[in-house]
């Protein structure tokens, strides 16, 4: 690890002014679960780190019936997993968080840090995108709100400007007659995932026709992948096994995975079929009861 200058920001305002000053050579340090590894492996060597972990103002989970859920960027994975509010209203997030790395990592790693590191195998992004998440980016100059699905641009790359800080994640109120299911496939529990998917299914009230669907995959493309064609195939249909199976095949054809030490591209596509099928079925069953 190369030497760097270390700043601990006392407030979001101070953090913004520090990052605008050091934007070319600095990095934001939140939980550090990804950043420290990159530093150790010398994949990045910033000369200055701005530690925002202590900022209480970005550590919150708040819900409003009309506007929905706001999660501060520095909320830890563990806090999201254990939040009774999230368990009640956005249970998929709590379930998803259970599969993020290990308890130790979840205790320290933050949701904002996870999204900003933009690892294509990250767990939270697919479920948040399926739930319609937006994110608030702030800087010394002001703030902007963008849809999370527009946030990621490539491997480990986002639209965030060098002087911006991700401040919060916003989710609309839970949609009626809708269920969301997250499934992850890895060789070992909490291991590096081979494929994961989050599927949202909305049914017509009182029927078993799919009104709306959204499928987001991770680890199959440089960014979280929305498999739109597969979702289209579900809409307006009774979700029989055959319909779901066809959509799952379509989802696989929409992905463009790579081969690495954990799995080949071909195998990843096979797993996409299985996961999309299983997650859709489960979401559909839950949505009918919702």
């Amino acid at each position: 690890m190369k030497d760097f200058e270390y700043f601990s920001a006392g407030s979001l305002q101070e953090a913004c002014s520090l990052i605008s000053q050091y934007k070319d050579v600095g990095k934001i340090l939140a939980g550090g679960q990804s950043l420290i590894t990159l530093l150790r492996q010398k994949l990045i060597s910033p000369t200055c780190l701005i530690d925002i972990k202590g900022l209480k103002e970005l550590d919150f989970i708040e819900f409003d019936k009309k506007s929905g859920l706001r999660i501060g960027a520095l909320t830890t994975h563990r806090a999201i997993e254990k939040s009774p509010l999230i368990q009640e209203k956005y249970n998929v997030l709590s379930e998803m968080e259970k599969s993020v790395a290990s308890v130790q990592t979840r205790n320290w790693g933050t949701i904002g840090g996870n999204l900003c590191s933009a690892d294509p195998i990250g767990d939270p992004a697919p479920s948040l995108i399926v739930l319609g998440a937006k994110i608030k980016l702030v800087s010394a100059k002001g703030e902007r709100v963008v849809a999370l699905e527009d946030f990621f641009t490539d491997y480990f790359t986002t639209i965030i400007e060098p002087d911006e800080i991700l401040a919060e994640i916003q989710l609309p109120p839970p949609a009626p007659n809708t269920a969301v299911e997250y499934m992850k496939f890895a060789t070992i529990e909490a291991g590096i995932k081979i494929v994961s998917t989050s599927v949202a299914v909305t049914v017509e009230a009182g029927s078993d026709v799919c009104k709306d669907a959204k499928i987001v995959m991770s680890a199959v493309a440089p960014v979280p992948l929305i498999t739109k064609k597969a979702a289209e195939m579900l809409k307006g249909k009774k979700l029989t096994d055959d319909v779901i199976e066809e959509a799952a095949k379509m989802a696989a054809s929409e992905t463009d995975p790579t081969t690495d030490v954990h799995a080949s591209a071909e195998y990843r596509k096979e797993i996409v079929k299985v996961l999309v099928k299983r997650a859709t079925k489960k979401a559909f069953e839950k949505a009918k009861k919702a």
Partner: protein
């Protein structure tokens, strides 16, 4: 002494408090005044000539104290196998050639690790790439790149020092063959001719990492006035490490002191001599400063010893009832760039098999081949896990082919207690039959085998046998038990504590002999200056040989105490008992003398002798030097430990993912000195075995390790571990301390086979290549569907 009060109990570890509270001192905790840190520059090429190395820029970096290259250490040789036929060829720093990605080409000492690392980037090495070869079968072909030229005897010629008559001679490997082994007995042709069914299969086990929690670390401190080297290091027998430092750096043996530190796991991976150890000591002497080298996890993967990749062709002939009549094994060991223990591994793949089943007519041939990859050493079983997978998976398939039950097949082919096996070893204790029966019962074999495929579930069985130390010269240990003035004892013995528990179990052994408690024992262990000779801490010899020496030393003191007591009490020694630091008459316990009184008396009446117990033990008393590795002849060990393991798995046919539901380990390790430590050993082996069967493989591409970290090389965590049942099937070992023998290395192999065979039972698909990753299983299932 019939009732045991200290041994056979799950007593807490004597090092438990220190480890739980973080006070236990590991090498990384050693900080010395003025200490420098060294980092190693490693070759980016798998095979290349070194034209020149320019270190001038690195030397000028502020904070850098010294840069050394192969020119500084030219000619230094060492090796784990260093015999007249196979002189050592490892070197601390590459000289004119690199042979694998990760080989050390230079070392930098600096004021801190970061500066040293920065300096590595400033060293310019001019390489002339040579064609590499990575696959052992390719490497053996005519015209393949030759990795070694003439291997000459240089500094190291270990065995001559110990009085081996024959001189080492230079040799040049042909077709990259590092060593060969051929073991035969019986008449193999005749055996196969008599067979009613013959099967031939191939299996592969990959290279894996030992995954010790503590990466390899060393601190060396040279005192220029005393001309003495103080060392804190990762080892599994300081006697070996001290000897290598003595030979490679020409420092007299008494001028090297290896201090006790705790060691964060070994599993075989810390026993041989490493480049960084010679470099650390070399730099310390050169600079007259303490030097610390801490390797990273990535370096452990790509530059420290891993386990050997084995490709095995196995052919077995049986009668229709399952009686084995002949077996022919051909083993190819991927040695890597240097041979290290490869000649031993391919011999052991036979030697560990032989005590288990009677195969009657056997031909076991092995070849170890140099390739341009990192090289290898023992990992918990050293050849046995690879061979057992080949054999046990094939037996399982033979049973399927002939409609036999695998458990009955194993029982039919068992050896018998008291048998003398072909190399001359006698099975005085042999708990394998009971272990097979009990492990099968515990997994509900009869109810489940072949009956759960509709649920994608299956059960499987595997077995293994393992030596308790071997004839590896000079595999022997010594212990001293001092009686203290207050009647307690001080035990001095050399075995080092790397988690396997000798500090605790040896105290129990000594305490039991003298009627004391573990608290009455002060332990001095694992220090080369304070402890007597010790070579027993590897080859699974700890308990049998090291513990045996402790037992003999404690019994020596016991006899001396009884003799004094009999003199003082005017009674026969056999009528006297020792307990609570007292000697008393069995018939009248009130008539007693304290150990303090006996000691005082003895000093007074016997020329000042304060009563010291002395004991020693050699692994195989009958052999003079060591068994023939290349022919497999000669006694090998005095006692074998045995395991039978069963497992139940469930396979997701859509994804290929395998979930282990339960593992049973039934073990014969002789009398268990500390039942909790034994259980810990077996649980850990169950986890390792499962992990080998399903997860672990070092993957490489053109000689570069692709997964040199714990993100990409996945190992199970607590929540991946299934129910594990441990069953004690101990058979009292008459030559072992209190009846104990090997534990800690045997079970891993049996568990791998059990899991692999259970996968077959669940799916009807035979996979003989581990790890059975979800993708491998998926592809095998797809291939089955196509059939």
């Amino acid at each position: 002494m019939n009732e045991r009060s200290v041994v056979g109990k799950p007593l807490p570890r004597v090092d438990g408090k220190a480890k739980l509270t973080g006070r236990a001192k590991f090498t990384t905790d050693v900080m010395l005044p003025g200490m420098l840190h060294a980092k190693l520059l490693r070759s980016p090429l798998p095979h290349a000539k070194i034209r020149s190395i320019d270190t001038s820029k690195a030397e000028k970096l502020p904070g850098v104290v010294a840069v050394i290259t192969g020119k500084d250490t030219w000619g230094i040789r060492y090796g784990f196998v260093d015999t007249p036929n196979y002189p050592a060829e490892e070197r601390p720093i590459a000289e004119d050639k690199v042979r694998f990605i990760g080989e050390t080409v230079a070392a930098v000492a600096a004021i801190d690790p970061d500066t040293a690392e920065d300096a590595l980037d400033l060293i310019d090495v001019d390489y002339d790439p040579l064609p590499p070869v990575f696959d052992p079968e390719e490497a053996m072909k005519d015209g393949a790149p030759q990795i070694h030229g003439e291997i000459t005897r240089n500094t190291s010629c270990a065995w001559e020092d110990w009085g081996v008559a024959r001189k080492s001679h230079s040799y040049t490997p042909v077709n990259n063959v590092a060593a060969r082994v051929l073991v035969t007995y019986g008449d193999v042709e005749k055996g196969f001719a008599e067979a009613e069914y013959v099967r031939e299969d191939r299996s592969r086990s990959p290279g894996t990492s030992h995954m010790a929690m503590e990466p390899h670390t060393m601190v060396a401190s040279w005192d220029p006035f005393e001309q003495k080297l103080d060392v804190w290091m990762n080892h599994m027998a300081w006697e070996l490490k001290r000897y290598w430092l003595h030979k490679t750096l020409d420092i007299p043996i008494p001028k090297i002191r290896i201090h006790k530190t705790y060691i964060g796991g070994g599993f075989g991976g810390k026993a041989p001599c490493f480049d960084y150890e010679v470099i650390c000591a070399f730099l310390s002497r050169k600079l007259c400063k303490p030097i610390k080298i801490e390797l990273t996890r990535e370096e452990v993967f790509s530059s420290c010893r891993n386990s050997h990749r084995f490709d095995i062709n196995i052919k077995t002939g049986v009668k229709k009832d399952g009686t084995i009549v002949a077996q022919h094994c051909s083993v190819i060991v991927d040695a890597g760039a240097y041979k290290c223990s490869a000649p031993v591994a391919m011999f052991l793949s036979h030697a560990m098999c032989d005590p288990c089943l009677d195969r009657k007519n056997v031909r076991h041939e092995g070849v170890a081949v140099y390739t341009n990859k990192n090289f290898n050493f023992a990992r918990r079983g050293h050849g046995a896990p690879q061979m057992r997978l080949a054999a046990d998976a094939q037996y399982d398939q033979i049973c399927e082919d002939l409609g036999l039950d695998p458990v009955e097949f194993l029982i039919k082919n068992l050896r018998k207690k008291g048998d003398v096996i072909p190399n001359g070893d006698r099975l005085d204790s042999y708990g394998l039959p009971e272990a097979i029966k009990k492990s099968a019962e515990a997994i509900k074999w009869k109810e489940k085998r072949g009956k759960q495929r509709d649920k994608n579930r299956g059960v499987g069985i595997g077995i293994n046998g393992m030596f308790s130390g071997s004839g590896y010269w000079p595999f022997a240990s010594t212990a001293i038990v001092r009686l203290n003035h207050d009647g307690t004892i001080t035990l001095m013995e050399g075995d080092c504590e790397f988690g396997q528990g000798p500090d605790t179990t040896y105290c129990q052994i000594a305490a039991e002999a003298l009627g004391l408690t573990v608290e009455d024992v002060t332990l001095v262990s694992s220090d080369s200056e304070l402890c007597p000779m010790n070579y027993s801490n590897f080859l699974s010899g700890g308990m049998f040989v090291g513990g045996g020496a402790v037992y003999n030393a404690a019994m020596d003191l016991r006899e001396k105490l009884l003799r004094v007591a009999s003199e003082v009490m005017r009674a026969k020694p056999e009528d006297i008992e020792l307990k609570d630091k007292k000697a008393f008459l069995k018939s009248n316990p009130k008539r007693s003398y304290t150990f303090t009184e006996l000691m005082r008396y003895h000093i007074q009446k016997h020329l000042g002798d304060p009563l010291i117990g002395h004991g020693y033990k050699k692994a195989v008393p009958e052999i003079e030097f060591y068994p023939s590795l290349s022919k497999g002849t000669g006694r090998f060990t005095d006692a074998y430990g045995f395991t039978a393991s069963t497992a139940e798995v469930e396979v997701d046919r859509e994804t290929g993912r395998i979930r282990v539901l339960k593992i049973v380990v039934a073990e014969d390790s002789g009398f268990e000195i500390n039942t909790a430590i034994c259980k810990g050993q077996l649980v850990s082996q169950a986890v390792q075995g499962m992990s080998d069967a399903l997860f672990e493989e070092i993957m490489d591409d053109e000689g570069r390790v692709l997964n040199p970290n714990l993100v990409d090389y996945e190992i199970p965590r607590a929540f991946d571990i299934p129910e594990i049942e441990v069953i004690d099937c101990s058979d009292f070992e008459p030559k072992g301390p209190w009846g104990a023998k090997e534990i800690g290395e045997c079970a891993r192999a049996a568990v791998i086979s059990a899991v692999v065979n259970a996968v077959y039972d669940a799916t009807g698909v035979r996979v003989m290549r581990v790890p059975i990753t979800p993708e491998r299983m998926f592809n095998a299932l797809k291939a089955q569907e196509k059939k």
